[in-house]
Symmetry: C2
Subunit: 204 residues, 2 copies
C-alpha cells in the first residue's frame, strides 16, 4: 500500500479510529514518540519469540527475521527523533491493548500459532491506520514525514503476517478467524483509557 | 580485527582452542551450521533482552539494536548455506556453554549488567576464534568464505560489548572482571562434551 490513499478494509480492521484521534494524539507527540519507540522494539521481540517457538516452520524463519530487523531500524529511527526533540527514552508502562489482544490467543497448538500471527497482523494494521492519522494531523515537517514514511511498512507487515498465516493454515480458516479477531480488536481499543499512546483512545 | 592475523589476547580469551578443533569441527560442518544459525538468533535475542531490561541506559540502545539486526542478518545468511547444502533447520538442543557461563553472572544490579555485557563479549570472542579455525580448516569454497567473512563481525561485537561496559562502569573494574570471567570461560569450554557445536569440545 502506498502512503497515498488509506483503505481500512484492505487492512482488515473492523472499525476505523475516530477522526479526533489524530489531532489529539498529535498534541501529545512527545509522549507518542516514546510509546512508539517501545512498540517498534516490542514488535521485533514478538517476531523473535515466534522464531524461537517455531524453528520447524520454514516459512516463518527468514521473513520474521527480516521483519525484526526492520522493526529495530525503526526503533533506532524513532530514538533519533526523540533525541532531536530533547526527549528522554526510558521505561515503558505495560500496554492494556497488547495484553487484552493476547488474551484472544487460544492456548493449544496449532491454533496458538494461527491466532498469534493474526493478532500481530491486526496490531500492524492498527499501527498503520494510526500513523496515517498522525501524518495528516501533524504540521508539515520531520515528524509528519516520519509517519508518512513508516505507515507503508506497517501495511506491508500486516500483509506479511496474513500471508505467512495462509502459507501454514487453510485460507478460509485464516479469513474467518481474522474477521472474528478484528471485531475483538476494535472492541478492545474502543474501551481503552484516554492516553497518549499509539494504541489507546485519544488523550483528552 | 581483520580476518588476517588472529590474536587471542586482543579478544581477552584466557586459553586458545586446541588446534585439532578446526579439522574435527569442519568434518561435521552440517551440524555446525545448524548450531551456528541458532547462535546468531540467540545473540540477537540476548541483545534485545538487554534493551528491554535497561531502557534507561542510553549508551546501550542504538548499539545493541544495530547489533541485533546484524546477528539476524547472519542468521538469515547461515540459513541460506544450510538450504544450499540440502540441510534442514529445526529445534536446538540447549547449550551447556551458555548455561554455565550465565551462572557466572551475579544477580544484584549493577553487577548483573556488568557481568552480562562481559559474558556476551566473551561469547563473541570465542565465536570469532572458532570461526577462524573453521575458515582455515574448511576447503576453499563458500563455507570457508562464510567463516572468514563472519569472524571480523564477531571480533567487532566483542569490542562493542567491552566498550559499552567501559562507558557504564569504571574501566579498571571492567578489566579485572573480564580477566576473571575469561578464566572461567576457558575452564567451562574445556570441560564440555565432545560435540559438533561452535562452543563445545571438538567432536571425536
Amino acid at each position: 500500500m502506498a502512503s497515498g490513499g488509506f483503505n481500512p478494509p484492505m487492512l482488515h480492521l473492523h472499525q476505523a479510529t475516530p477522526a479526533d484521534w489524530g489531532p489529539r494524539a498529535a498534541a501529545h507527540i512527545d509522549e507518542i514518540l516514546i510509546d512508539h519507540a517501545h512498540l517498534e522494539k516490542k514488535a521485533a521481540s514478538t517476531a523473535l519469540t515466534l522464531l524461537f517457538r517455531y524453528p520447524d516452520e520454514p516459512a516463518l524463519q527468514r521473513p520474521l527475521s527480516a521483519l525484526a530487523r526492520e522493526e529495530l531500524s525503526h526503533f533506532e529511527l524513532v530514538l533519533d527523533h526523540i533525541d532531536a526533540r530533547g526527549g528522554t527514552f526510558g521505561k515503558a508502562f505495560p500496554s492494556a491493548y497488547a495484553a487484552q489482544l493476547s488474551q484472544q490467543i487460544r492456548r493449544a497448538e496449532p491454533l496458538r500459532l494461527l491466532d498469534t500471527l493474526l493478532v500481530c497482523a491486526l496490531i500492524e494494521a492498527r499501527s498503520c491506520e494510526r500513523m496515517k492519522h498522525l501524518a495528516e494531523a501533524l504540521p508539515a515537517g520531520p515528524l509528519a514525514d516520519l509517519y508518512a514514511g513508516l505507515l507503508a511498512s506497517e501495511a506491508r507487515h500486516h500483509t506479511l503476517y496474513v500471508d505467512l498465516c495462509e502459507q501454514i493454515f487453510a485460507p478460509a480458516e485464516v479469513r474467518e478467524r481474522l474477521s472474528a479477531l478484528a471485531i475483538r480488536e476494535s472492541e478492545i481499543i474502543a474501551a481503552l483509557p484516554r492516553e497518549a499512546r499509539l494504541h489507546s483512545r485519544a488523550p483528552a
